[in-house]
Amino acid sequence: MIEREEAFNALAETITDELVVTGIASQMASWYKAKHRPENLYLRGPMALSLAVGLGVALAHPDRKVVVIEGDGSVLMGLTSLIAVAHSQPKNLMILCMDNGIYEEGGKGATVNAGRTDYVKTVQGLGIKAARSASDLSELRAAIKEYLGKDECSFLHVNIGHRVGPVPPAKLKPFEMKYQFWQALKGKTPNP
């Protein structure tokens, strides 16, 4: 089990010019705190759509590595998105599933089937072969480094602890989130 903030900080240490798409609520808040930068696309809604949105970003910019940070509850809700990811297999897409076993921002109840779902086998069964799990910081750092350097669609399941104390959400309105991401992509906006 990795402390939540340490897991996000381990990713922040490694990220350089990658585009990062976060899921809503605690994923957005934790990544905003760990490494706020224009190359981040924060989602405020809907739950679970970061996987599909990240796939769209990856298809639009095959020259850029795209990292999606999502929670276990959203990954379960968005399993069909993983089927679309498996079909397209973008070599530049890496998905992190931050698994704390609860709906952190949804009442803190247990995630459906918590502790019994094998995320790695599930994802591999869909056809995403580069998939593994990390349960301590050294495993996590090694896996992040390997998958960021890999020219292959990948999925990293991370066992993390519950959040300790509140983490404020990103201090940006949705339109601001959009424009900062557009600007980070060097003026490739359809209507700047």
Binding site: G45, L49, A84, H87, L185
Partner: protein, 168 residues
């Protein structure tokens, strides 16, 4: 030429780079042509919310994207349209087969046809019927102009008359 062979050049003229969708039998020739096209990438989805999400992601990454689906599936995308499409103001074009109108009345389609346009009205999403000469009129490009001007999704509705090039 079938509608798929006409739709791909229309999308190319509109500079569409990413498309996603879920099949409907009216969409099949379009999806077949998109899958074979070299000028854009077509990413099939298993459900409509994913197709919309893929296109919203592509649009948020600065390229033009079109999602294709039937009105039944589009009715399932309300939360995504509200919280991402409209809240963020994302200019995507939805190409939706609007089933359940004249010449297309079955028990399965009837109520969807009655519900879909009020659904779009409730979300204040602009929608326009594709006409049989959609490619000559460059309606895909026009739809993107509307989406980008208004900074929100726009729906192009396909009825039987648009598909067959004649009135139902």
């Amino acid at each position: 030429m079938n509608i798929g062979q006409r739709m791909v050049p229309a999308m190319e003229r509109a500079q569409v780079k990413v498309a996603s969708g879920v099949p409907d039998n009216w969409l099949t020739p379009i999806i077949e042509s998109l899958t074979a096209a070299q000028s854009l990438v077509y990413a099939p989805a298993a459900r409509e919310e994913d197709a919309l999400g893929i296109c919203l992601g592509a649009a948020l990454a600065g390229v033009r994207a079109v999602c294709l689906m039937q009105n039944a599936g589009a009715l399932n995308t309300g939360g995504t349209l509200a919280t991402l499409g409209i809240s963020y103001g994302v200019p995507v074009v939805m190409l939706v087969t609007d089933r359940g109108h004249l010449g297309d009345v079955t028990v399965a389609h009837f109520e969807k046809g009655r519900a879909f346009r009020p659904f779009l009205d409730a979300l204040r999403i602009p929608y326009y019927e594709l006409t049989p000469d959609f490619d000559q009129r460059d309606q895909l490009t026009q739809a993107f102009q509307m989406a980008e001007l208004g900074q929100r999704p726009v729906a192009l509705l396909m009825t039987r008359s648009a598909l067959e090039g004649r009135n139902a």
